[in-house]
Symmetry: C2
Subunit: 116 residues, 2 copies
DNA sequence: GGGCATACATAACTGTCTTATGTATGACGA
DNA sequence: TCGTCATACATAAGACAGTTATGTATGCCC
């Protein structure tokens, strides 16, 4: 709903980027736009988080990058998932879902008697 | 499952503590044990994360603490939710659920055509 | 020409986690 | 009695990944 911009939890950006890139190569600005749009304007990726994250992913071998000139004549660094990166994407998504499930267990848990 | 211990995402511990304390006062060690048990041994809260977190919550006025001597004769610092803390717990849980929902939107999103 | 969206980059700062270490007590068995 | 384990708290050092702020530059459109 975009009433208040949501703060990214540290460690959760990479999976968003990987997931975005699984639809095809894209440059940083487009990745950021896609995440914002698909989140319904709730998530705004700051550039100070995005570009370092892309470097990280490239260092890990999960994405490759190349400079490309668009039809408009503008240059952009285009990122693409590697095979390793595609596997990483799957396992990162799974890890997130696992985290959510574990969290739900704790949040929904009910004590029998005192917890102390 | 507990095959590999899950790494806490930064910023997600507070809500677990608050949620735990909503069942009644408890000391640090008991909070840690409760989170581990209710998560099915998946979450192990490190002491280096737990005790600073409890201090933070107390500084914010979300919990109060007092030293107590158990029947065993051992001393422990017992934490208790304040009224503010109870409200904070509710809004933190809501914020987490909102985060999960937004994330799901991005992870499940499908592009029409290219995203670039 | 001016303003806006696009496009990338980095430095400084901050917060919260992990890892490692230290202290101390009570219970239990060899 | 002595060792070991579970209990119970605390803090320092370090890493990591966000935020905030700032800078550069181009293309499009009025």
């Amino acid at each position: 709903m975009a009433d208040s911009p949501i703060r990214l939890l540290k460690g959760t950006l990479d999976v968003l980027i990987l997931r975005t890139l699984c639809w095809g190569p894209a440059h940083g600005y487009a990745i950021s736009r896609w995440i914002r749009q698909s989140s319904g304007d709730d998530l705004q990726i700051e550039e100070g988080a995005l570009y370092p994250a892309l470097r990280r992913l490239e260092e890990r071998g999960w994405v490759t990058s190349r400079w490309e000139t668009a039809d408009s004549g503008r240059e952009a660094r285009v990122y693409e998932l590697t095979t390793t990166g595609r596997n990483a994407m799957r396992s990162e998504v799974a890890a997130w879902q696992r985290y959510v499930a574990v969290f739900a267990r704790v949040l929904d848990a009910r004590p029998r008697g005192s917890i102390a």
